[in-house]
Symmetry: C2
Subunit: 379 residues, 2 copies
């Protein structure tokens, strides 16, 4: 293998695939990035077995020569050193040549690097994703759906299935669900055309948050292919493979109340700031418990207390109030997590009793729904 | 104590004194910030016994009423909660009132906070600094001197005196010295007027870096008073007290070579980038060893190697080269630390042999001098 390549293209591709490199891997070949050169361009691949990322650099882009291929071939290079040194090379032009025993010579300006390469034959082969059913979704919508549900996944490895986000697709409606048994987030979106459908596709939240970083901010279409145990995301020149989590995702429909005894409509920002102040104190108690109470003269009271530090209490106007008076305690951190991702100016909070799940729905947005379980307290 | 105070003034002062709060203190009263109210204004004080910071908020500033004093008095409030909640209060106007048992009531907009206060009598009294000899130094110069020497202090508590920066003042020349026995940094500055002089004043590097954060970026004069075991910095409305480290600072003059066998003048940025690339590889070996070698045809070679990863090697032009050829190894991290703070475009590196200290001097700047001990290696 011998090529000459532009630094910014190589650097961008390395940054993309490097997200699949795990610092905790015990398999030496997986600490490396594989380079495959053919006459179409250079393909970089990295994998931690759960996710694999492939990025393709074409020989030409925008009428500019990006790669000059003198000799095709492959090599695996040590990822951490490779990612850092390429970024810092002095010239745009980088020459790379693989010699005996995968010794790789890289030169740029007056800098010469000799890198101990590994045998590309040892690198795991990426899964073949069967099926011609492709789902297309705008990149910014996908990122938004991940952000608006991902915070509710479980971080405990004791229930691996709950560390993922559940994907369901039916009648062109894609729905994400995430829960850690104390809270639940769902987000739906109507997609255009196609008759693809699936259910119980669960993808690790951590993986989806890595995916989010690769999806560009401008409106790019992401193509998604789902097989039995793998899902493949195609984003421009990048292929992102992820394992689908094994197991059956629990039925969450029953924990969402369908009728309410108390319904409030509140300004999102004001509620968020108010709960944030009460949270500051509750956090010092390590409980995060904050209390919400309806007031006789209208409005609500948000409060928290700490034996060591004191009390925070404030009154808040509501836009609308229907139903019975109420006094309920909840984890304010969970509430703030929801309020952070709600984009509507107002939201509805609904209750069916002090022991029943609290429902939050952004106004003017029927696609999102959040549930938080209350705390059992005596005061 | 009962006052009404503007949020931004209170917040700025809290942020300043909060830097003296140690999260590891075992003395309950020192987890608090003391407020003293008299008819001139409010004084906030925090201390971790090594450093104490006091900030004064006058009743009036810029023809604006900042504090309205209804009743004078004092209280100590829990620092961490206080600093966070004040920042997030909804209105500019904050009312504070201390009632029985130092219970403190704070209100702002619709927010009401009750804080468990402590007895201000328990708060340590700040040291009285005797002496009418005041040293004045422009704030940006002081910050620069701290930055350009502070990185060379020792982080090992086994030699406490070396965790400080040595201050000497004689003939209006203020000189900072820092060393961890492997490297040395000195920086001098000529000050105006006065006949103050002192030597062996050693102030903890950590303390001076906290002080740096309080000194404003615009050109403010910092007044400095030195007593036997304390130093006081006056910056506008802030008083910053620091303990002087006990012990005699070692004589460092003998480790600075006065004649050289090899002298190089090099472009600072080019050298820095070149060593940074070699450092990337040397860091993976956990040694940071990089080699500098003069070349027969002029210029130098910078290189490093790792058995596992490979080699980095590059040639660099020099502006001037005097004396004997040389091949020397050193800790590249130490070299980079120096290069980061050198402001001159070119610098001189001088050598007296492969086992002797390496001297670095920025060109056009006789106020700074850096020394790095070489590594003893066999290649």
């Amino acid at each position: 293998m011998k090529i000459s390549i532009l630094k910014n293209y190589l650097n961008d591709s390395i940054q993309q695939v490097y997200k699949a490199i795990s610092s905790r891997t015990t398999i030496p070949i997986l600490t490396g990035i594989k380079l495959d050169v053919n006459h179409q361009g250079v393909t970089l691949t990295a994998s931690d077995t759960d996710i694999s990322i492939q990025s393709f650099i074409p020989v030409e882009d925008d009428n500019q020569t990006v790669v000059q291929v003198e000799q095709t071939g492959s090599v695996v290079l040590p990822a951490k050193f490779f990612v850092e040194i390429i970024k810092k090379l002095p010239s745009q032009e980088i020459v790379m040549e693989v010699k005996d025993h995968f010794q790789t010579f890289i030169s740029s300006g007056a800098t010469e690097i000799q890198m101990v390469g590994l045998d590309p034959e040892e690198f795991p082969i990426l899964p073949a994703i069967e099926g011609n059913q492709t789902l297309s979704i705008p990149g910014d919508l996908l990122k938004n759906m991940i952000k608006q549900t991902g915070f509710s996944i479980s971080t405990h490895e004791t229930t691996p299935i709950l560390t993922g986000i559940l994907w369901n697709l039916e009648d062109n409606e894609l729905k994400f669900t995430a829960t850690d048994r104390h809270r639940l987030a769902t987000r739906s979106a109507q997609l255009n055309g196609g008759d693809v459908k699936f259910n119980n596709v669960v993808i690790a939240g951590k993986t989806l948050s890595e995916l989010s970083k690769i999806v560009p901010d401008q409106n790019t279409l992401v193509d998604i292919l789902v097989s039995d145990n793998q899902v493949l995301f195609k984003i421009e020149n990048v292929l992102f493979y992820s394992r689908i989590l094994e197991g059956i995702y629990p039925d969450t429909s029953r924990i969402i109340p369908t009728s309410y005894k108390t319904e409030l409509i509140i300004d999102t920002k004001k509620l968020s700031e108010s709960i944030d102040r009460a949270y500051l104190l509750s956090r010092e108690e390590k409980t995060n418990i904050v209390r919400l109470q309806t007031l006789d003269h209208g409005g609500i009271e948000i409060s928290s207390s700490s034996t060591e530090l004191g009390k925070v209490r404030e009154e808040l106007d509501v836009v609308d109030f229907k139903g019975e008076p109420l006094r309920i305690s909840f984890n304010s951190k969970y509430m703030l997590d929801v309020l952070k991702v709600v984009e509507s100016e107002q939201l509805m909070i609904a209750f069916t009793g002090i022991m029943s799940p609290i429902v939050l729905k952004p106004m003017d947005d029927s696609n999102s729904l959040y549930v938080i379980l209350p705390y059992r307290t005596n005061n």
